[in-house]
């Protein structure tokens, strides 16, 4: 079967589902971050696929660049939060961290 737009959309949906699973079922905060990265990558695949097959030029790719920039900022901030969690609670399991302040 020749590859078309639908193939890329289904691939990105599957990656999104896997990332969402990591987001809602893993305990470790860093694995939750990895799930977010998978979801953002799925979004990027969609943007670039529509940029190619939708006849929209490279606008979709420019938006994908902004998504990558925001992913970098998000990863840096989130890791700072995770390191602070570890300093304060000595764990990164998100279900054991239920106080705002120790």
């Amino acid at each position: 079967m020749e590859v078309g737009l639908n193939h890329f959309l289904i691939l990105s949906t599957v990656v999104f589902g896997i990332g969402l699973y990591a987001l809602i079922s893993r305990k470790n905060a860093i694995l939750v971050l990895m799930g977010i990265e998978l979801i953002l990558n799925a979004c990027n695949i969609n943007l670039i696929a529509f940029s190619k097959y939708g006849g929209l030029g490279v606008d979709g790719q420019v938006v994908a660049i902004f998504v990558i920039i925001l992913a970098v900022a998000e990863a840096a901030i989130a890791l700072g939060i995770v390191l602070n969690l570890y300093n304060n609670f000595s764990t990164v399991n998100i279900d054991e961290v239920d106080n705002m302040k120790e």
């Binding site: 590859v3 737009l5 896997i18 998978l38 097959y53 490279v58 790719q61 925001l70 300093n87 990164v92």
Partner: protein
Amino acid sequence: MSLYSILFYLFALIIVVSAVYVVSTKNIIHSAVSLFITLFAIAAIYVLLYADFLAITQIMVYIGGILVLLIFGIMLTSKITNLDLKTKNLSDLPAILFVAGLTGVLVFIMLTTNWKTVPEPSKNDITINAIGKLLLTDYLLPFEVASIILLIALIGAAMYSRKEKTIK
């Protein structure tokens, strides 16, 4: 089947298998290495979509930046010495059912929607020229805002993760 299709199915298989391994393995270091493979294969998918600049950006930013950052996070928050890098899952079965249902609905929507596509996909050789022009004309304001956000994130992360008091 053309070479394009074979490459697509190959990389899609790599992506799905390694992404499932990322979320299913108990060892968090294995997750990070598997995420490395996933991100590389996604860069290959970008190449198949004629997005060469995005593919290079993906490799440099995600693999060179975010993944190294994540591995640093793992190393700093786990007790490496007693090799206790295992993680546990939370409410596995409901999560799998929910995600499978949602993915099924989304795939159904993707397949049944009549997307407005062009019959002949554009095959631009080099996208850097066009992306650079767009970044400095139509997308100038988002570009500047993104740079401010990066600066804020840099200062914020440095301030936030600095130790302010002694460890209890």
